[in-house]
């Protein structure tokens, strides 16, 4: 039983790690999109 609990914990950490890592690039893309949007708006201000 202890072994099963140990394996479940390992898998649990692994799944959380993978999910967090997959979210990580999305945060970067959102930040980049924000930078891009601000820069894009400046083209209208220039007009």
């Amino acid at each position: 039983m202890d072994k099963i609990i140990k394996y479940v914990r390992v898998i649990d950490r692994w799944v959380i790690g993978v999910v967090l890592e997959l979210i990580y690039p999305l945060i970067t893309f959102t930040a980049a999109a924000l930078v891009c949007y601000l820069m894009y708006l400046t083209t209208f201000i220039k007009k």
Binding site: R13, G17, V18, L20, L22, Y37, Y40
Partner: protein, 498 residues
């Protein structure tokens, strides 16, 4: 100072080279079976021939140099550098036999580009290439990205020699106490994402009404070339072929993860997810992506206008992330890229030159080295502005807390200078062949940092001298100089032994 070699060094070096050659031969069986499954008999025979040839060469080397000794540091480095050259020649044989390359030099260029995870290509008529051969192009990316030696470490090499060859392949960190465990963990991470990535790409492709067999083939190839930051694609139009924002998003996600240090993956996967927020290299990497993206955007805002925000973001950010991670995927045509404003091109060149994280599949200078140099500069400035007896200590968190030492800063500065010299040297050679400086510099940085984006110079019709230059740049850039320097010393020692 690298010590001179003696004749006694030849035996162990060629013995281990024999093992690597045999290992590479075994890997040729994968495209062979793909050829058989698809009833592509000619390519299948090409792969069978190369498999037998590799087996024969490997066996002869192991027979002649049969004594298995533990490698010392310089022998290990030489094995690594030699293995990559031999792998290029062996990998080029089935490509050359496919008839999709003008010469063996072109096939060698393609093989080195794949193994070094660059992605520059000189293939002709890619749309009609056999599944077996096209798979081999992408499989080479996967083997090269994981590390030819890492593959050998996991399956063929045992004993005390493993650490020396592991270090020779531009991997500075032992993620786990045992090097074989480290190699296996790197495989575990890659195979986990292989399953997730392939499933996602497969779903998207099927959603685009691509037949399931073809969708699976595209999905596996896209993942292998993306995760290992190589950038080859099944179609000649690269990612632009799909015309799909979801493919853009998912490829960008996986290439970014591929360019993250395997040590960070290990820590996050073993219950310390906060490492994603605390890691100095990762924080600097994200800052660098945003800073270089700002330069690219500034270039467009000043000189260029896009009809809408989405197309502006999609085009500019995708090329930027592709450049910074070193993947070289592109969702625009080469001729469009050549029309980009100069400032945006400069932003891309800087991103390519900086590269990804250390101990990842990405190439280039590596962000950690830039970070160490910045910390070193900060430390020196603090010393200059502090009272004389003050002890200045600079620290950063990278998997563990690290204190910045002078030798760290010195090594980082040397590597940065070597990369800049390599970039400029390639640019000058490009100019000497008659290409404009900006394009020549772009292509040189792309080859040396193993990126694969092109402004149009790389083609089957570029001069042979330039092809050889880029092959050497890709090789040196991937192995990060040291192994190549040691090999040169080895070859010089053979000429005039001490």
């Amino acid at each position: 100072m690298i010590p001179y070699f003696s004749r006694e060094d030849i035996g162990p070096i060629l013995h281990y080279l024999g093992k690597v050659v045999k290992g590479l031969g075994v890997l040729m069986l994968v495209p062979f079976f793909i050829g058989v499954l698809n009833k592509e008999w000619a390519p299948a025979i090409d792969f069978l021939f190369t498999f037998l040839l590799s087996l024969a060469i490997g066996s002869v080397l192991l027979l002649v140099f049969e004594e298995e000794k533990d490698l010392n540091w310089r022998q290990g480095m030489s094995v690594v550098a030699l293995s990559w050259v031999v792998a290029m020649f062996l990998g080029a044989i089935p490509l050359c036999l496919s008839g999709h390359y003008l010469s063996f030099l072109d096939a060698s260029f393609e093989a080195m580009s794949a193994f070094a995870t660059t992605g520059l290509t000189v293939v002709r008529d890619l749309e009609h290439m056999s599944y077996a051969c096209n798979f081999w192009r992408h499989f080479m990316c996967f083997i090269g990205g994981q590390g030819i030696i890492l593959v050998a470490l996991t399956f063929f090499v045992r004993g005390g020699s493993v650490f020396k060859v592991y270090m020779g392949e531009a991997r500075e960190e032992k993620i786990m106490p045992n090097i074989i465990q480290t190699a296996r963990f790197i495989w575990f991470v890659s195979l986990t994402y292989l399953v997730i990535g392939t499933a996602l790409f497969f779903g998207i492709n099927v959603g685009q009404n691509i037949s399931s067999g073809r969708a699976l083939f595209h999905a596996i190839c896209l993942f292998m070339a993306g995760w290992d930051t190589a950038g080859f694609s099944v179609q000649s139009q690269n990612i632009a072929y799909y015309h799909n924002p979801l493919i853009d998003l998912v490829t960008a996600m996986f290439v970014l993860l591929g360019a993250v240090n395997f040590g960070v993956h290990y820590v996050v996967w073993t219950g310390k997810p906060r490492e994603l927020l605390k890691n100095y290299e990762l924080k600097l990497y994200m800052t660098s992506i945003l800073a270089t993206f700002f330069i690219v955007c500034a270039g467009f805002v000043m000189y260029f206008k896009f009809p809408d925000f989405i197309s502006f973001f999609r085009e500019s950010f995708y090329q930027l992330i592709s450049a910074h991670t070193g993947v070289g995927y592109s969702n625009i045509a080469v001729q469009n890229f050549a029309c980009w404003p100069t400032l945006a091109i400069l932003g891309i060149i800087i991103a390519m030159g900086l590269g990804g994280s250390s101990t990842s599949t990405a190439g280039g200078i590596k962000i950690l080295r830039i970070g160490i140099l910045l910390k070193g500069i900060k430390k020196e400035l603090k010393i200059l502005t502090s009272p004389e007896a003050t002890v200045v200590v600079e620290r950063f968190h990278h998997i563990r807390d690290i204190t910045v030492e002078d030798n760290h800063v010195k090594m980082a500065a040397i590597m940065i200078l070597l990369y800049i010299a390599l970039y400029i040297a390639g640019g000058i050679i490009g100019v000497s062949f008659g290409y404009p400086f900006l394009s020549a510099l772009f292509e040189s940085v792309s080859a040396s940092a193993n990126v694969g984006l092109s402004m149009g110079i790389t083609s089957p019709f570029m001069p042979s001298g330039l092809k050889i230059t880029y092959i050497i740049q890709m090789w040196i850039g991937r192995l990060e100089f040291l192994s190549v320097f040691v090999l040169i010393r080895f070859l010089l020692s053979l000429k005039s032994p001490e």
